[in-house]
């Protein structure tokens, strides 16, 4: 993958960063997915979880680093082979948290089809949904650049 500079609509994206950062903060002590650890002793399970958490927090740190002062000047986020996989994983983690925290009441079919009652949604939920869609779009962009053969 070559370096790609993606120009985002600052007006549209900047307001979403609060709800994204909030979800990221929630994920500091917990994993986005609580899948079972293979059956071993407590020490194994603790180590497994700790390593996953360290990786998750590292990825989220890379992702949030996209939205520093440069971003607010230019609206540009740079994607390259050194950060793209971390950003992909971070987007997945944050989307999982957004769904768990704000979007579950909307139902998964509605989330998948984008048929949600935008006008009736509380502002936080509306922003969470917009962030959920934005992060999906970012993921699709990265996947296409990393592996153009992946078909949707």
């Amino acid at each position: 993958m070559k370096r790609v500079e993606v120009k985002l609509n600052l007006e549209a994206v900047a307001p979403l960063l609060d709800v994204i950062k909030d979800a990221a903060d929630d994920l500091r002590p917990i994993l986005a997915v609580t899948a079972p650890v293979p059956d071993h002793d407590e020490e194994f399970a603790a180590g497994w979880t700790r390593e996953l958490l360290e990786g998750q927090n590292s990825d989220i740190g890379v992702f949030l680093g996209l939205f520093g002062s440069d971003f607010f000047l230019t609206g540009v986020v740079p994607l390259d082979p050194t950060n793209s996989e971390a950003i992909l994983r971070a987007c997945s983690a944050v989307r999982l948290r957004l769904r768990a925290k704000h979007l579950e009441p909307l139902g998964d079919e509605a989330l998948e089809s984008n048929e949600v009652p935008h006008d009736d949604m509380p502002e936080t939920q509306r922003k969470a949904f917009a962030a959920y869609v934005f992060l999906a779009t970012l993921q699709e962009l990265i996947v296409q650049h990393l592996d153009p053969t992946v078909m949707e």
Partner: protein
């Protein structure tokens, strides 16, 4: 996408533990989740298992439509390593002992 639950088997505890210790065939099972994009799941499968596009897509569709897919089978240690990697990518992955073992 609808979250699927792992299967549980009701067996006497000591029999279950003995069978699992003796099982030399373990499956890596990916379960459905309502969030991760299909293209993302396909990319992860290709990256982690070296699948070609068609195989990765087949497993992704199995997860999506049937709730689960066995993506790899083999020794326990390798199965655990794959599950760890899939969990790093935030896929819901578990290991299961082969029932025939």
């Amino acid at each position: 996408m609808i979250v699927a639950e792992t299967r549980t088997r009701q067996k006497p505890a000591h029999a279950t533990a003995t069978q699992q210790q003796l099982a030399d065939l373990w499956h890596v099972v990916v379960l459905n989740d309502p969030v991760n994009l299909m293209s993302y799941v396909v990319m992860v499968f290709k990256k982690v298992f070296g699948f070609d596009e068609m195989t990765a897509r087949k497993h992704m569709l199995e997860v999506h439509e049937e709730g689960r897919s066995v993506v790899w089978s083999g020794v326990r240690e390798q199965a655990e390593a794959y599950v760890f990697t899939l969990q790093q990518w935030h896929l819901t992955a578990v290991i299961e002992a082969d029932e025939a073992a």
